[in-house]
């Protein structure tokens, strides 16, 4: 099945309560698949087409505030419209899932794949000091698996999570092993598991207020420090990455999502030539696998960050290794996708020859 369809199928199976979305290429199959499946007749999941991405993300706020598992999906221009909502969700410490099937920008740009929303996803995007938990699938299987993982992490840390995919992973078809059905939480379970949620105030507790406003500067500074402590815990505990041929590697690709798939082939081509190349594939973009990259740096002659962007993740790779290893960027943009041969050539020119 298609990556976008896998997202929808996984959502129904892992007990998502609500999907709120607005059509945009290249991810409209997510809502189409959900509507086709009519999960409201089986699991009771709500699926609603909103009037805009702005409404969608605020519907997530309302649903998440009730302790429900809620999600949306969109693509780059739509995700830009959601940035206000995302900072409110982060500020109110609400868990939810936003899927970004990235297309090329800036502006209306193209409907073709890109990875040029890395900064927006990882560095905040909206106003204020906040972070999303960002997962980067590199296969249709991971599109499916990461739905549940994203909700687990979102609820564990009461923080919005994002699946940062791209038009290639969203549109390509692969075999997927789906997980078994999990029932949705009952309202009673939610009231017990998420005592912060607005479920209707019983006499037994104080009223719950979901808000991101705090007018006392000292209290709000304390809140910001609490958020930062949470992000630090996430950074320490939740890094996920895949290392391919890294043990003896002299040259390292760092690439996520569809670029990682291309780099995997490039590693094979380089190894066939006798060049010891490896690939580190970040699975979590926040938290970024900084320590994992640092642990390899001692043996490396150079690192090439390969992204379908003009060079965004490369900044985090440089921050990880400092001046100890040369770090360069390579990437095609505007919907153009680099070939493994181009990636090999880039490594040879920019790193080996450089």
């Amino acid at each position: 099945m298609k990556g976008n369809e896998a997202i929808a199928e996984a959502a129904i199976r892992c007990g998502v309560d609500g999907y709120f979305g607005y059509p945009i290429t290249p991810q409209s199959e997510v809502m189409e698949t959900l509507m086709d499946n009519k999960p409201w007749e089986t699991t009771g999941m709500v699926v609603l087409q909103a009037e805009s991405e702005i409404a969608s993300i605020n519907m997530l706020y309302g649903g998440a505030g009730c302790g429900k598992k809620v999600m949306t999906s969109s693509s780059s221009p739509g995700i830009s419209l959601m940035q206000e909502g995302l900072t409110y969700l982060a500020g109110a410490e609400l868990p939810c899932l936003v899927v970004n099937v990235v297309r090329g920008g800036p502006g209306l740009g193209t409907i073709q794949p890109a990875q040029s929303d890395y900064f927006q996803a990882v560095k905040g995007g909206g106003h204020g000091d906040y972070k999303l938990i960002v997962l980067a699938p590199a296969s249709v299987q991971e599109m499916s698996d990461f739905v549940e993982l994203a909700f687990d992490l979102a609820f564990k840390y009461r923080n919005p999570a994002m699946i940062l995919s791209d038009g290639m992973i969203g549109q390509m078809m692969e075999k997927v092993e789906m997980k078994p059905f999990k029932p949705r939480w009952t309202n009673e379970e939610i009231a017990e598991m998420h005592p912060w949620a607005t479920t209707g105030k019983p006499a037994s507790r104080e009223r719950n207020i979901i808000t991101s406003v705090e007018l006392d500067p000292n209290a709000f500074e304390r809140f910001n420090l609490k958020l930062q402590a949470k992000y630090k815990t996430i950074q320490e505990n939740e890094v996920r990455c895949e290392m391919i041929n890294c043990d003896d590697a002299e040259y390292l690709f760092v690439a996520y999502g569809s670029s990682a798939r291309i780099c995997q082939k490039a590693v094979d081509l380089l190894r066939a030539k006798g060049i010891k190349a490896g690939l580190l594939r970040p699975i979590t973009l926040f938290p970024f696998p900084t320590k994992q990259i640092q642990s390899l740096a001692g043996n490396l002659k150079g690192i090439l960050s390969v992204e379908l962007s003009m060079g965004q993740m490369v900044e985090d790779v440089r921050l990880a290794v400092g001046q100890s290893v040369p770090v360069e960027h390579f990437g095609r943009v505007g919907g153009v996708i680099h070939s493994p041969e181009e990636v090999v050539e880039a490594l040879e020119k920019k790193i080996i020859g450089g």
Partner: protein
């Protein structure tokens, strides 16, 4: 024979008291502001219907942003204009709950126009309470979408010019045209009689929700003494003379 005050203060003589759902927090509203009265009426209706445990309210950005400090129910505080989107999701995911939004004119009729219209058009089974005082109070008295023609504000210091800014929007008449709304009314809260009528309208709106009817929409034409730069008594007079002719009171739709 002189009556001792202690003879009068007895439970059996109580004719009016604060709703048990109103907290002891001191309201931040300016003297003469309509918000305090409407807050109280909402608390009374929820109390009288016995639905405290089943009600979830949504507050706006604007003067009512801190409304959650005053009524003892579960609340969510929305981004500016987005309360109907929150209300939509809350009601869809918790159809067993009473859900209402409480918004001002800038929130509901300017930045949140799309959310307002589409929630009403979908017939979301929620109550929307709309405080229209023709001005942005919280930010210091700027021109609102409902500011009357010629009315002076911080951003229309020479009066609202229709050729430049258009005429004030009648969002309540607009939502009344949408098939999703079941009850649309315009009320006030500046006299004993208008307070009684508004409370009746609020109760009807919550009962509509109980019966599963479409959106109930209640506009309350209100005063903003600070923003209008009038004392509370003159504000009421100004509202009667100027706001009511443009925003006439009464039911617009009742199905």
């Amino acid at each position: 024979m002189a009556i001792d005050i202690k003879e009068i203060i007895k439970p059996e003589n109580i004719v009016y008291k604060k709703s048990s759902l109103l907290t002891d927090n001191v309201m931040h509203y300016c003297p003469g502001c309509t918000h305090g009265v409407v807050n109280r009426l909402v608390a009374e209706v929820i109390e009288e219907m016995g639905i405290q445990e089943e009600t979830i309210g949504v507050t706006p950005v604007g003067c009512a942003v801190l409304l959650y400090n005053y009524i003892d129910i579960d609340w969510q505080e929305a981004a500016h204009g987005r309360a109907p989107a929150l209300g939509t999701a809350i009601k869809r995911l918790r159809p067993d709950r009473y859900v209402f939004t409480y918004q001002g004119d800038g929130d509901l009729a300017a930045i949140g126009t799309a959310e307002t219209i589409h929630a009403c058009n979908r017939g979301e089974k929620i109550v929307m309470i709309f405080i229209n005082n023709g001005i942005y109070g919280m930010t210091g008295g700027q021109m609102a979408p409902t500011t009357l023609e010629g009315m002076k504000t911080a951003t229309s210091p020479f009066g609202r010019d229709a050729s430049h800014d258009g005429l004030p929007i009648k969002i309540t008449e607009i939502v009344a045209t949408l098939p999703g709304t079941s009850y649309v009314t315009r009320q006030a809260a500046h006299t004993a009689n208008s307070v009684r009528k508004l409370k009746k309208a609020l109760k009807k709106a919550f009962l509509n929700q109980k019966e599963g009817k479409g959106t109930s929409f209640i506009e309350v034409v209100s005063t903003c003494s600070s923003g209008w730069k009038l004392n509370p008594v003159d504000s009421n007079k100004w509202m009667e003379d100027n706001m009511f002719p443009y925003f006439p009171l009464g039911d617009i739709k009742d199905e």
